[in-house]
């Protein structure tokens, strides 16, 4: 198992390198530069700026410099936010994003698996139809519609929850963003769980267990849930990617100071280092997450052998 994990881990390194290279050259190919502004800079100052950020070197040399710095955990200075380095910005933004995304993910798992299981147990009942209808809605309504609706209802009209920001950091501020971010994932996970649970409940070993007269609760929790969760686990990789992209929207709408906001801002401002930083960091995170998911899957599924 450890060897399997290690080999998978080493295998991720070329993936990461390709990611860095792809992002680096793509950003540099973009028209417009970080120092363009409406008031044209005097050429001398622009030259000074370019030299200060090593933009006057050949591109390949810049790439090499970037990789070397990256290996030391240094993402470089931000072009846009001149008082901070990209590493500092990521260090400040990531915990916030993690709190938001992590809460949303866990909420989605808890609610999704519970609702899906309930629907599967009472297939074609009213509960089933209700769960599926709600989950269909979750899939069909974009979160940039859902989020302002929630704000309008709970913050503006009812005044129960804050309309955005993080205020003093109290959990109240995260309730609406977490729900908006989790909704589509709850929907997907409950559908997945329902489908696989129905299949598992029809399998022979569950029938055997029933025939032995085990209580229904035990059958579900001890025997059926684990195999039924396999498709959910393999969905976690794409789900984490979806939560990360979704947080770009949610962070913007709720004014949550996470990493997602830097990404679009950075791209618009041609803040090369910041965009690279976010892409590489998130990319590494997704790669890591996929790895973990595979390991969990291997652990859950007795059929998988680690070659």
């Amino acid at each position: 198992m450890i060897r399997y994990a290690l080999s998978r881990f080493l295998g991720a390194i070329p993936t990461l390198l390709i990611l860095v290279a792809l992002a680096f050259f793509m950003i540099r190919a973009a028209p417009g530069g970080p120092f363009d502004s409406e008031k044209a800079l005097p050429p001398e100052i622009e030259a000074n700026l370019r030299a200060a950020y090593h933009l006057d070197e050949p591109l390949v040399q810049q790439f090499g410099r970037y990789l070397l710095n990256l290996a030391r955990g240094d993402f470089g200075p931000s072009f846009q936010y001149k008082d901070y380095s990209v590493t500092e910005l990521i260090a400040a933004g990531f915990p916030v994003s993690l709190r938001l995304g992590g809460s949303a993910m866990i909420l989605a798992l808890l609610l999704g698996v519970t609702a899906g299981t309930m629907a599967a147990l009472r297939q074609n009942s009213r509960t089933d139809h209700a769960v599926m209808a709600v989950s269909m809605t979750g899939i069909s309504i974009p979160n940039f519609v859902m989020a302002p609706l929630l704000i309008l209802l709970f913050a503006v009209t009812l005044g129960w929850l804050p309309a955005g920001g993080i205020g003093d950091g109290s959990p109240r501020y995260l309730v609406l963003p977490v729900i908006s971010l989790a909704l589509p994932q709850i929907a997907y996970i409950s559908r997945l769980t329902r489908g696989s649970m129905i299949e598992v409940l029809r399998s022979n070993f569950i029938r055997t267990a029933r025939a032995q007269g085990l209580p229904e609760r035990t059958i579900i929790l001890r025997h059926a849930l684990k195999p039924a969760l396999l498709p959910v686990v393999s969905y976690l990789g794409p789900a984490s990617a979806a939560v990360i992209t979704g947080s770009v929207v949610i962070e913007q709408i709720f004014g949550v100071p996470g990493l997602g906001r830097y990404f679009v801002q950075g791209a618009l401002n041609r803040d090369y280092t910041l965009v690279m930083g976010v892409v590489v960091f998130y990319g590494a995170l997704i790669i890591l997450f996929n790895l973990l998911v595979d390991l969990v899957y291997a652990w859950l599924d007795p059929k998988v052998k680690y070659a």
Partner: protein, 297 residues
Amino acid sequence: MSAAPESMAATPAPVKGRSLWVDAWNVLRRNRAAMVAGALIFTMAVLVVVGPWLSPWDYAQTDWDNVSIGPDWESRHYFGTDALGRDLFVRTLHGGRISLLIGVVATLVSLLIGISWGATAGYLGGRVDHVMMRIVDILYAMPFMFFVILLMVFFGRNILLIFVAIGAINWLDMARIVRGQTLSLKHKEFIEAAEAQGVASFNIIRRHIVPNLLGVVVVYVTLTIPQVILVESFLSFLGLGVQEPMTSWGALVNEGAQEMGTAPWMLVFPATFLALTLFCFNFVGDGLRDALDPKDR
């Protein structure tokens, strides 16, 4: 399609396929939800094509006398107008054309790449398979949405680019599914028979493997189209969707969401169309999966 009679003679596959399709149709017909959803999609498609002719307004035309009004039959703004006095009924339908078009074309792009890649890897096997699937694995780990955003930011909001960009991120799943199916088909008798007759690999893939994948592909297509429409609406939220004065459901819904507290009709109509369409595609997709894959459920 000139090769069709030959392949019919060479293998029993199409006959087998037909019975599969007949079976599937019978299952699907009994699934009322899927049938209703399918009919709705059809209606929607017809509506977005012919609907704009039912209104005197053009999608880019400004009615200065009726700026930002709610639904009004007298001026024939059935869904009201936006802040520029443009008719929302026509714009919703026009946006539907674009969204559905993006959904279908981008899905086809991903289909094309995914099927050729997966079928080739699966059929050829060995080292080629290994390398090809390794590439898929690597690409799988990329935060693609980020690259799409970068592309749209840097290289303009070209509708063609949207097709390609979205299509290019969706082919990976298809490639994996198709490869798996191909591997299992590879050892079926009719393929081995064709190989024994000395038919070239490329022709075997094209004539025998690809047609037999149709079931999986159809399910995949119906489930991918709504995803693509959602991705487009996400890009629209970031201001990276289609170019004005053209519009899409995503763009309309985003505009509407900005003004939901003040001009709710701007959100309600396009959002209903968008949600209904996604809803229907998902129902049909589920129905088709039940029908075509008896093992599932």
